[in-house]
Symmetry: C3
Subunit: 505 residues, 3 copies
């Protein structure tokens, strides 16, 4: 029996390797700089280090990563990044890259370290993804909200303090911290260096940069090196895994509320039911991602971003970090659903009324700034190509016919609500643009906002993704319809109160 | 050491078989027809094929399936279906069955194929389940909604477009696509063949049937063969697994919104907490389903449908596809909770006022159409029998005492809201049946609808399933109570506006 | 090859042990009494028994449990409980403990059994946890709600029936069953013995105590032995596992609704995203709980209760069952967020207006009953210590700066809403305390309630836990802002209706 022990050992090892998660046993060397970081940070921030140790970054050098077959690659550089090719991607590789462009660079134990790793840093190994993301509307999410006076005014209507004067309540001020804790949390803060501060640490006195707009993981973060975006918004620190970015919960961080309820709709869709019920058996780490083999129903990333292949290894959809590459419509109504803007920077858009909106207040899409029907068709075809892997043509055709109808009817219902608010402004029962007032601050104006921002959006998302239960009663058609009736009544009540006020005087 | 390799191989195989999911290593032959289907469809719709390959259907022939011990059987036929007994249940077995009854049958590469597999097809192997489902109110969900003028009017109030005339908003038209994307999505569409269409495919030109009402997976689907229902609503295509049907997410596709928030209530209940926390260790595929061994807290199916046994193999509850077999009350208020209807087709019901409703507007259940107290007692006893596997009698008695009280008090609160709407109609501040108008279209009428459809329903579901957190503030008692106050105020506002209008004139 | 079979056997056993869940193979003896219980109850309540069999209690005797290293212990007694040390913790050990103090003790097959196992019973092995819990505000949740006339009045506004008199709707009565099915479900019922009842059982006629307030698993349950609380609220029966108590779903049973949406906020936070996406790989049973190794993002218990260590085994946070030990603020506004009360019994608090509230109606915290700034600082430091395991100081500082600002601004928004309701009371458009009326029953009063109970609370929880998506549109800042506008309009409408009523007369 003396032979058994070594056999047992080797077999158990084989079994363990089947059971354990890592796909490959690669272990790249760590750079000396990274080893120096770890020397302290394993004790100082053990959670970060533990997370990173489980990552691909900790095991695979760029030089090894580029050797994989084209479709299996997670890197996209042509030439290996100078000085970074042969070691694992550790603390120093990211946090000391490009020191001269980073305004947040500071001296830290003899290293030029920066706090905010940016897409500019990630581009060393992932240039294609970073470039695509630049053309993704998400990368401009900060400016698109803050530099558009209409949207900024909508934002104020959520965040401003208010005072009651005995008759009416009025918006007063808002502060930066509140905005960063509210809309800007997802849209991304502007991170700025406000000097250095000396702090007592377990290693003695040390200087650290003082950052405003920090913490920040929003998709359109303005980084101290001038780049925009935060890859870690989806590829969560410090594992930066593709699994995490593909799991729908990641998207839910910003796409769950009634304005963009994509995640909630997914959850009640058949696709979401499958994920919830049997998704624990799927492989979210495989690159490329094989339909049917790695998963049997799509998660968010499958339809909107990931590189998909079929069982024969043929490409069904190319990876894209311009997230709307497969979407013909921008469902998010402002106030109407519309073809996707061409430029990621939407502040350049002007409608006929001179407002920086992609549609007129009456619904027509603005010309010149939005993708045309041909481009819409191309994007729709990309999406359909994915659907058709599991659904016959008649199924897919039927689905899209309903969806296009929903875009049309929800826009019509927004138009009806807009007619009411226009009447309110005209009759002096609410103060609009002609009175140099916000169009989002009064009660009836907010009911109008909810018509498109919550109910029409929710209905469209539900229609797009097969989540009817959400689209009917949860936050959809019922409310879209009820809200119009309530707005009309409210307008009558405002009229009656206004007349009563006059009588009183 | 030369002996080790084969040992290693066989051991690894043993280990792999422990790790892999399938319960049995059965592999039935595929029919020639199914092999022909797979020849193309593995490439054309790989997702479907991959899903099916993981199914019982792909591995077990009906002849094998019927050999299992009675309680372990997943089939219920007496005589093996002609010509289908000895091969696996593949594409052809379902999609070419009963060609003459299927109006969606078309010529496809030499086969008579139909698109919409129906309960009539499934009945070949599962006749008992199909028969039970016929008596399940869900199978009539299409007609029960569309052919009942009161409910159709409620449906219109969610789906119709509206126009604002400067003073009031009025419902206008609705289209079929919208309805199919809304209420009918869950209730089930009517699928009809509208001719043939030639399409260019990767295999050359081919004819396919043009279907209206497609796609469709609603529980009361009207199929081209005249049958009603879609087994795939819960036994999701193309794995058709019992695991999927038992997982609560499956039910959530149609039972999550505020009208029937069973899933949300389950999630906050102690049972749901257990499922969410430790349910990944439960066995959702075992037939029969053993309490305590296979699971330690019920999911939806355990209480409402599944065959349950105790550790000794004794039957605790018989499988039933008439889902209300263990439910004394229909909690879904129309507008009041009531004993379950006797017939699955509820369009036959008439109350004293001549309306097709199971209760009077004042709350009394209609006579003759609903189950009597004896049948209620029998169903309650079935449910209690399940509870008692994990709870002592005093616990169960206490639970049901609270639940019965909730049925009573929520109905009383609906009555109070109804008194307000009756006053609105009487005083001409809203237009009801006496004015030949919908009773669901105006703002105050919709507030009344929410009283029973959202708040009373939610409170009752929360009470039935121990989800108090949902039943108090999420969508329950707080809103049930607040809504009455708001309705009363709204009625006063309508009165004041009405008088102001008259003064104005 | 004859050697292979035994090798195979032993290897498979090794593999199975890797795969199986239990951490240790301990198997303590069962007491004779427990064996007697099991003799019947394995058949009578198999679900309970199956659950218990998987528990630590079923495997480990107290004498073994105390031998573990200090940080790994799950028991806290100094002297082993008399007579209980050497056997597993089975039915009899808990259900026959302390018979004289338990009013629910009854004769059952020769044993003195009680139904309601209480913290007094658990204290035999877990005295420190029970003692901490006594100082946890949750243990007083029953009295804090029912014995505070202001809160009881709020409770009535959710639970009372109402009648409509043709003009106004008024609250009428409420019953005990409704309260137990509503607020008291989470706060905990008062369980009282109302005599004995003889029941026919499968074992013949038997006597059982009749309990009112049963079932009950609320955190502040008043037990028949006079103790307060239910350990099983979180350590769910009958596994009583630490895993279950640490899983966030457990907390969701009472912390999901809009009044305390901690769970919903967690779900959209980055921490919750990580749990949802990769938490299935974490170890929720390890004691102590090692940051980075056992989990890479906190669940509720990690921040608020659990014993945490770093990879080096150093204590990062001590276990505490006084749940607010690491929380400087009580976010739950009544109506304003305030420093935590010192005493778990909050009925002793009186504000300047003589009301049993922790703040004045105008927002100032009451003096003497709430923790001071020093204690707040201490608690904040405990929490920060946990954050700092994965986040740098500047990240944590930035987070807390925003959070403190949110406490301030949400309180200001509550103040503005309060100004409106004060005007309503002053102008006779709603009836407040000066009219000896509830301040929570009328429509506009309920809008005011939602301002702090739903919207300000939600905003604060979202701010505290990084769940901005919830805090902006789901139930947060948008509604907090909109509600003020709606309240102001509603007040005008009430005024107009009131004047119209007078004109009419």
């Amino acid at each position: 029996m003396r032979n058994i022990c070594p056999i047992l050992g080797c077999i158990l090892l084989a079994v363990m390797s089947i059971l354990s998660i890592p796909e490959r046993a690669e272990t790249a060397e760590l750079s000396e700089a990274t080893q120096a970081c770890l020397g302290c940070h394993e004790a100082v921030t053990p959670g970060i280090v533990a997370d990173w140790k489980k990552s691909h970054h900790a095991r695979v050098s760029p030089a090894e990563a580029i050797k994989k077959p084209l479709l299996a690659r997670r890197v996209s550089f042509k030439n290996p990044p100078a000085g970074l090719a042969e070691t694992a991607v550790g603390c120093a590789e990211c946090h000391t890259a490009n020191p001269s462009t980073h305004k947040d660079t500071f001296d830290h134990n003899g290293f030029k370290v920066h706090v905010v790793v940016s897409p500019g840093d990630c581009a060393a190994c992932h240039p294609q993804e970073v470039d695509e993301y630049k053309h993704n509307i998400m990368s401009e999410a900060h400016g698109n909200l803050l530099k558009n006076p209409v949207y900024k005014s909508l934002m104020d209507s959520a965040n401003c303090l208010q005072k009651f004067d005995g008759v009416r309540a009025r918006l007063t001020t808002v502060d930066r911290l509140t905005e960063e804790d509210s809309c800007i949390y997802c849209h991304g803060t502007k991170v700025e260096v406000k000097g250095l501060k000396t702090r007592e640490t377990t290693m003695g006195e040390m200087d650290f940069p003082v950052l405003s707009g920090w913490p920040s993981g929003g998709v359109g973060r303005i980084n101290p090196d001038g780049t925009k975006g935060a890859c870690s918004a989806c590829h969560t620190r410090h594992a930066f895994s593709i699994e995490m970015a593909r799991k729908p919960a990641t998207c839910s961080e910003c796409h769950k509320g009634p304005d963009v309820p994509a995640y909630k709709v997914y959850q009640v869709s058949k696709h979401g039911n499958l994920y919830e019920s049997v998704g624990d058996k799927w492989d979210f780490s495989a690159v490329p991602w094989t339909i049917g083999k790695d998963f049997t129903a799509p998660a968010c990333a499958a339809c909107h971003a990931s590189l998909l292949v079929n069982d024969g290894g043929e490409v069904v959809a190319k990876r894209s970090h311009r997230m709307n590459d497969r979407s013909a419509w921008r469902l998010f109504g402002l106030p109407y659903a519309h073809p996707h803007p061409i430029s990621a920077d939407t502040t350049i858009i002007k409608n006929k009324a001179g407002l920086p909106l992609p549609t007129e207040l009456t619904g027509e899409p603005v010309q010149g700034y939005l993708i045309d029907k041909k481009e819409q068709g191309k994007r729709r075809a990309s999406m359909r190509g994915i659907c058709l892997q599991c659904h016959a043509t008649s199924w897919v055709d039927g689905h899209f016919a309903r969806f296009e109808k929903s875009v049309e009817t929800t826009n019509q219902m927004t138009r009806t609500a807009t007619d009411i608010i226009l009447a309110a402004w005209k009759n002096g029962l609410a103060k609009g643009l002609d009175k140099q007032d916000s169009i989002f601050n009064e009660a009836i104006e907010r009911m109008w906002v909810e018509q498109w921002l919550f109910y029409a959006n929710s209905t469209r998302f539900a229609s797009a993704m097969g989540g009817a239960d959400y689209g009917v009663f949860a936050e959809g058609r019922w409310y879209m319809s009820k809200n119009i009736q309530q707005m009309a009544d409210w307008l009558r009540f405002l009229g009656a109160a206004s007349r009563a006020d006059k009588t009183k005087k």
